[in-house]
Structure formats: C-alpha cells, structure tokens
Amino acid sequence: MSQWTDTIRQISGVDPRKCMKCGKCTATCPAYDHMEYHPHQFVDMVTTGRVEELMASKGIYTCLTCFACVERCPRSVEPAAIIEAVRLAVIRQQGGNHMTPDQIPGLLDEELPQQAITSALRKYSKGG
C-alpha cells in the first residue's frame, strides 16, 4: 500500500473502501471519453495503492467537478473528492502547479467570466 493512499484519504475525507464497484460514477461521468482513468478506477487505484500512476495522469485535470458521481454514488464514496485530492497531492509538491498567473493573459477572451479564471487558478495552483 502506498503512503499516498492515506494522504488521499486524509485530504478527501472519503473512505474509498466503501466502494462496491458498481460503476455508476463512470456510467454517469460526462467527461468519460476525455479521461485516461475513469472515476471507478480512481477509487480503486487509491484503495489498492496505485496513487502515483494517477498522479502522473493528465486525466486528473479533466474532471468537470460536476458532482454527478457524488450525487449518484449509492455508497457515498464521492469520486470527485478523490480526484481533487489526487490533483492536490500533485500540486502541493514543489513545482507541481498546473497553472501559473502568467499563463492567464493568453487564455482570456472578451466574454470569459472572471470566475472561470479565478477558479482555474485556485484549482490548478498551490495557494491560489
């Protein structure tokens, strides 16, 4: 079991062992086609200690945080919280930021709401 398993459980406050592997999270996930690993695999990989593989995956930035998996999970596992915890485990490492403030001007367009930029920065960087 990797040391990360406990870290992820701590950050997310979720117990992945409650998962009964029904796959409803993955069935309901609107970002499925764009993900390397899928919600039920996130949960399983955290349980079985394969967190480093997850941390190396681009898929952790694809989660839409739409809470559909959280709402529909029959076992209150909250896959979205686990995905965010893995993302944070990466970002909190030195040089782990996925986004920096100087990238922002290039992403802007006229209509983009401020809230999108603020939230992206907060989600993807340390201490954002």
């Binding site: 701590q10 950050i11 997310s12 406050g13 609107p30 970002a31 086609d33 764009h34 930035y61 694809t62 839409l64 945080t65 739409c66 809470f67 559909a68 959280v70 709402e71 909250e78 979205a80 919280a81 965010e84 915890a85 944070l88 992403l107 209509e111 983009l112 709401p113 401020q114 809230q115 999108a116 930029i117 603020t118 939230s119 992206a120 907060r122 989600k123 201490g127 954002g128």
Partner: protein
Amino acid sequence: MTYSYFPGCTLKTRGKDLDTWGRASMEALGIHLEELPQWQCCGAVYPLAKDEIGSRLSAVRALAAARDLGTPLVTLCSACHHVIKRTNYDIRHDALFRDRANNYMAPDTAYQGEAQVLHYLEVLRDHVGFDTLAKKVVKPLTGRKIGAYYGCLLLRPSKAMAFDDPENPTILEDFIQAIGAQPVFYAQRNECCGGYVTLEDPSLSQARAGAVLHNAAAQGADTLITACPLCLYNLQKNGGKLPVVYFTELLAEALGLKEVPV
C-alpha cells in the same frame, strides 16, 4: 423587505445582465437587495479537500457579515451560491472546520452557521411565491417554449445544497410557468455543460454543451435560461444556435422592466 445580497465578481463585470435585471425585478416585487458592505470574492470554487481551510474563509466572512446584519443572504450567481451555501453547511456540520475557521479569523463573535443562505430563486419561490409573481406579470411570455438549464452547482450535492430535487428539479420550470411561458422538460438540464474545463480542454466543453443544447432543442425549447455566468458563456460559445439568457432577463421582461428584444 430587505435582504443582504452577495453579487460576486462576475455579476459586476461580464455578467451584468444577471445582476441588473435581478435587482430591478426584486425592487418591482417589493424586495430590496442590499449589497453586503465591502464584500470580497466568494472564493470562486469550493475546495473538495477537507484540509483546505483558507480558501473557504472569504465565504465565512460574507456569512458572518450577513449574520451581523440579521437578514438572509441572497446570492444569484450559481458559483457564489454553491461556495457560500456549502461553506455554511460545513460550518454547521464540521466542528473541526468551524473551530479552525474561527481561529483564523478571530471574529468578535464566533461564526456558528447562523446566517441563512438563499438563492434568488428560493426567494422567488418561498418568499414572494410563484402565484404572486404570476399576478404581477404585465407582459407574459405567452407562446414561448423555454428550457431551464440548472447545471451542476445549484443542485449538487443535494445534501448540502438542499435546493431542489437533484434529479427532477422544478423550481425553474415553475418560474417559467409563472412568467407565462411554457416550460420544456429535458433530461440534460441537470447535466454538466463542461464549463469547468473551458480553459483546459475546449473539445470536452464543446461536446457537453452540444449534448445539452441538442436535447433541449429536440424536446422543443426555443430558449434556455440559466443562473450561472459560466454556463451561459460556455453554452453560447461552445454550444449551438439555441439562445441562452439569464433567467433574470426574462423575469424583467415579464415584469415590463426590460424591452423585449425583437
């Protein structure tokens, strides 16, 4: 009747239509929305990590200010509502977070979750009443077929948000009926539009927005309404031809406050 009001950053800039018509309509319905003095960003995104205290503090600050004023705190932007409502839920249900938040901020009186957070729509439903609203409509939107787009943030997770049935909500449809239009029910109304990754993965945003708009159009909607600036942006930019507007715009039209666009 006066309520505290938290507009949030976007409603002051890109999302002015949501704010302007929202306020004007409430005035017309006899409710004054008093902007919270010196409000700061809500935090923009609710952190799912249990150990992130700092990013929830600005929401606690707004909540404590509303508590001090003694009036319910009304929000309009879905994102602000989500962050503030969930933070209030955490304060009420997570003793560790409550203690730590109060330790950080050291307010005169510890904030214990006393404030009541209401979404604008909840004020319409529970305080004004859709029946009363219907009576005050001067230009009913008769003949319009409008689809409600709820998105994610208002409804989920239902335990903390307690806004409406998370799978079969009706508040926006009841609203549409109250302003004289015909609501169009479609299953994708509570599915994600993909707005969250609009910077990260535009192709995913496009796929999602397309699915939502296609389903709404297939069920006969001529317009979609939303309460979320990011959804509006994303559905307009990445979606299709179906017009998407803020629900407050149609409210203002129905109340005769806003010119009906030709």
